[in-house]
C-alpha cells in the first residue's frame, strides 16, 4: 500500500517520462531499431511502470493517474510483445506479396472458379432451354437486343459511339468492378454464402451471354469483345471470391483448434495483398474495356483483339504462377 502518494509520484514520474519519450520515438518511426542497451532499458521501464500500476490499485480514487499509467503500460506492452514486423513499403515485396498470397490459397481460388463455372453452366442451359429468360438474366438493357442486330450495328458504325465519353466510361467501369470485387471479399463474413451467391450470379450472366452469342453464331465477335478486358476483369473478380472464401474459412475454422481471432489474424495480410492486386488489375481492365473492347472490325481486327486478350491472360497466369517463387 502507498502511504504517501505525492512522494510516490515524485519518485516514479522520472521513469514514466523516460518511458513515454522512448515510446513516442518508437511510435513515430516504427522501422527504427533500438540498440541492445535501449531494449533492456525499455523492458526495465515497462516492468517498473507495470509494478507502479499494480501498486496504484490500492488508490482506487486516483482515476487520472491510473488512466495515465494504464495508457503508458498499454503502449509499452504493444511495443514489447508485438512479434509482427512493421510494414515496409518496398515496391518489390509489395508486388510479389500478391502472387505469393494467391498461391498460398489455391483451394479457395479453385472454389471461386468452380462456383463461377457452375453459374456459367446454369446460365448457358437456362438460356438454351428457354430463350425467354434472357430479359430476366441480363443485367443491362444493351444485352437484351438480338446478337445479330448488335453485331451488324457495331460492325457498320461510321462514328465513334464513345467519342467524348471514353474516360468517364472507363472510370465508371473501374469503380463499379472494384466495388463488386471488394463486395465479393466482404461477403465472406456471411460464412461465404454471400460470396458464393455473387460468384454464381456473375457466372450465370456470363453463361447466358455466351449462350446467346455463340448460339446465334457470333462466337468470334463475343470472344473479341470480351477477351481484351475479360481476361483481366474476370480473374480479378475470381480473386475477390478467393479472398472471400479465405475469410469465410478463417471465420468457420473447420477442423482446427486455433482461436478465431488467431485464424483471422493469420489470413489478414494475404487478404490485403490479394484485394490490392485485384484492384490494380481492375484499373487496367477498365482502361482496356473503354479504349479497346468497344471497338470492333473493321476498326480493330478480331484476331488482333483476341491475340491481345490471350497475351494478357498468359501474362497474368505466368505472374500469378511464378512471380516471387523461391
Amino acid at each position: 500500500m502507498i502511504i504517501d502518494l505525492p512522494r510516490f509520484v515524485a519518485a516514479e514520474r522520472v521513469y514514466w517520462d523516460e518511458l513515454a519519450l522512448l515510446l513516442a520515438r518508437l511510435e513515430t518511426s516504427p522501422e527504427a531499431r533500438l540498440s541492445l542497451p535501449e531494449i533492456q532499458r525499455l523492458h526495465y521501464l515497462y516492468e517498473r511502470s507495470s509494478a507502479d500500476l499494480a501498486r496504484l490499485d490500492t488508490f482506487s480514487t486516483e482515476p487520472n493517474l491510473r488512466a495515465y499509467l494504464e495508457s503508458l503500460v498499454a503502449r509499452a506492452y504493444t511495443e514489447i510483445h508485438e512479434t509482427r514486423a512493421p510494414v515496409k513499403l518496398r515496391w518489390k515485396s509489395v508486388v510479389l506479396a500478391f502472387p505469393r498470397a494467391f498461391r498460398r490459397h489455391q483451394a479457395a481460388f479453385r472454389l471461386s472458379l468452380g462456383v463461377t463455372l457452375l453459374g456459367c453452366a446454369f446460365g448457358w442451359f437456362a438460356l438454351r432451354m428457354d430463350p425467354h429468360v434472357k430479359s430476366v438474366l441480363m443485367p443491362f438493357a444493351g444485352l437484351n437486343s438480338s446478337p445479330a442486330e448488335r453485331v451488324a450495328k457495331e460492325e457498320s458504325a461510321k462514328t465513334d459511339k464513345l467519342r467524348g465519353e471514353k474516360a468517364s466510361f472507363s472510370a465508371e467501369l473501374m469503380t463499379h468492378n472494384i466495388h463488386v470485387t471488394v463486395l465479393t471479399l466482404a461477403l465472406g463474413m456471411t460464412w461465404g454464402v454471400g460470396t458464393l451467391i455473387l460468384l454464381f450470379y456473375n457466372g450465370v450472366i456470363l453463361g447466358a451471354v455466351a449462350a446467346d452469342y455463340i448460339g446465334a453464331g457470333f462466337g468470334t465477335f463475343l470472344t473479341a469483345w470480351l477477351l481484351p478486358h475479360g481476361s483481366i476483369e474476370i480473374p480479378a473478380i475470381l480473386l475477390g471470391g478467393q479472398a472471400g472464401f479465405i475469410l469465410a474459412g478463417a471465420l468457420i475454422g473447420w477442423g482446427g483448434r486455433t482461436p478465431r481471432t488467431e485464424r483471422l489474424r493469420a489470413v489478414g495480410p494475404d487478404l490485403f495483398a490479394i484485394i490490392a492486386g485485384a484492384g490494380v488489375l481492375l484499373v487496367w481492365a477498365g482502361i482496356v474495356e473503354a479504349f479497346v473492347s468497344q471497338y470492333h472490325q473493321p476498326v480493330l481486327p478480331y484476331s488482333l483483339k483476341i491475340a491481345f486478350g490471350a497475351c494478357e491472360l498468359a501474362a497474368l497466369t505466368a505472374f500469378l504462377a511464378w512471380a516471387g517463387r523461391e
Binding site: S60, T61, T78, S170, A171, L264, F272
Partner: protein, 253 residues
C-alpha cells in the same frame, strides 16, 4: 485476455498487470461516421470545384477525374487517416474514439485496410444496419469489419478532476491532521462512492432539506465505516461537512 464486462475490454499482461479499454458504443461510432461522411463529401466537393475552376481537362476527363476522386477519397480516407493517426479519423478524433488491435498489439496496415473495405457489407442494406446490429450483439461491440480485422473501437479516457473549490472549499480540514488515516481512507473509497458524494455535494442546494440531511448522514456513515478517525477530528463536524472533508482528502494529492 478476458472480457470484464460488455462495455470494457480488459487485457492481462504476462506480468499480471491488467489494463482496460472502454469500448465505444454504436451511437458514438455512428456520430463519428457522420462527421467522416461530411468530411469526405466536403473534400470531394472542393476537389471537384477546383478541377472545374482550373478548367484543366475536357468535360470527359473532368467527369472521369471526379468519379475516380470520389471513389478514391471515400475508400482511402479511412485507411490513410487511421494509418497516419494511429487508429483515428477526423470523426473519431472529435469524439475521442480510437481503433485498436483486440490484443493490444500494434495496429497493422492490413487490419486497417480490411476493416475499412468491409464497410461495404457493414453498410448493408442502408445506414450501416448490418454493422450496427453486429455492434450491438458482439461481445466487444465490433462490426463485421472489426471482427475480420481483429480490431475494436475504444473511447479515449479523459477523466475530469472535480472542481474541489466548488464542492469542498480549501478551509481547515481536521482529517488531514491524521495523514496515515487520510491515506487509508483514500485507498478504501471506491470511485463509485466518490462519484456519488461529488454528485450529492454538487446538487445539494436542490434537495428537500430532510432528504439532504438523510442523504449526507448515509454517505458520512459509509465513509466512517471505512476508517475511524479520532473523536477530536470529528468534533463539531456535521455529516455534510464530513463528506466534503472526505472529498478534499481523496482528491488532494
Amino acid at each position: 485476455m478476458k472480457t470484464a464486462r460488455q462495455s470494457r475490454l480488459s487485457i492481462e499482461t504476462p506480468e499480471g498487470v491488467v489494463f482496460s479499454f472502454e469500448l465505444a458504443m454504436p451511437v458514438s461510432r455512428a456520430l463519428a461516421w457522420a462527421i467522416d461522411a461530411a468530411a469526405i463529401l466536403t473534400a470531394c466537393s472542393v476537389v471537384g470545384q477546383v478541377c472545374a475552376a482550373a478548367n484543366l481537362f475536357s468535360r470527359d476527363v473532368a467527369a472521369a477525374v471526379t468519379t475516380l476522386l470520389y471513389f478514391v477519397i471515400s475508400v482511402v480516407y479511412g485507411i490513410l487517416l487511421e494509418w497516419r493517426w494511429r487508429g483515428q479519423t477526423i470523426g473519431k478524433r472529435i469524439l475521442g474514439l480510437r481503433v485498436l488491435d483486440i490484443h493490444g498489439m500494434r495496429l497493422q496496415l492490413s487490419q486497417i485496410v480490411l476493416r475499412n473495405l468491409l464497410r461495404l457489407v457493414d453498410a448493408l442494406p442502408a445506414l450501416y444496419l448490418v454493422g450496427g446490429i453486429a455492434c450491438l450483439f458482439s461481445r466487444n461491440a465490433q462490426r463485421l469489419g472489426d471482427l475480420a480485422a481483429n480490431t475494436i473501437v475504444a473511447r479515449e479516457r479523459k477523466p475530469q478532476e472535480p472542481d474541489l473549490d466548488e464542492i469542498a472549499p480549501a478551509k481547515y480540514n481536521s482529517l488531514l491532521a491524521y495523514p496515515h488515516l487520510a491515506a487509508r481512507l483514500r485507498s478504501l473509497v471506491t470511485p463509485e462512492a466518490a462519484a456519488i458524494a461529488i454528485q450529492a455535494v454538487t446538487l445539494r442546494d436542490g434537495y428537500d432539506p430532510i432528504a439532504r440531511v438523510e442523504l449526507f448522514a448515509e454517505l458520512a456513515a459509509h465513509f466512517r465505516s471505512l476508517v475511524e478517525f479520532p473523536e477530536q477530528a470529528l468534533e463539531g463536524v456535521t455529516d455534510e461537512q464530513y463528506v466534503r472533508s472526505v472529498l478534499r482528502v481523496i482528491y488532494t494529492p
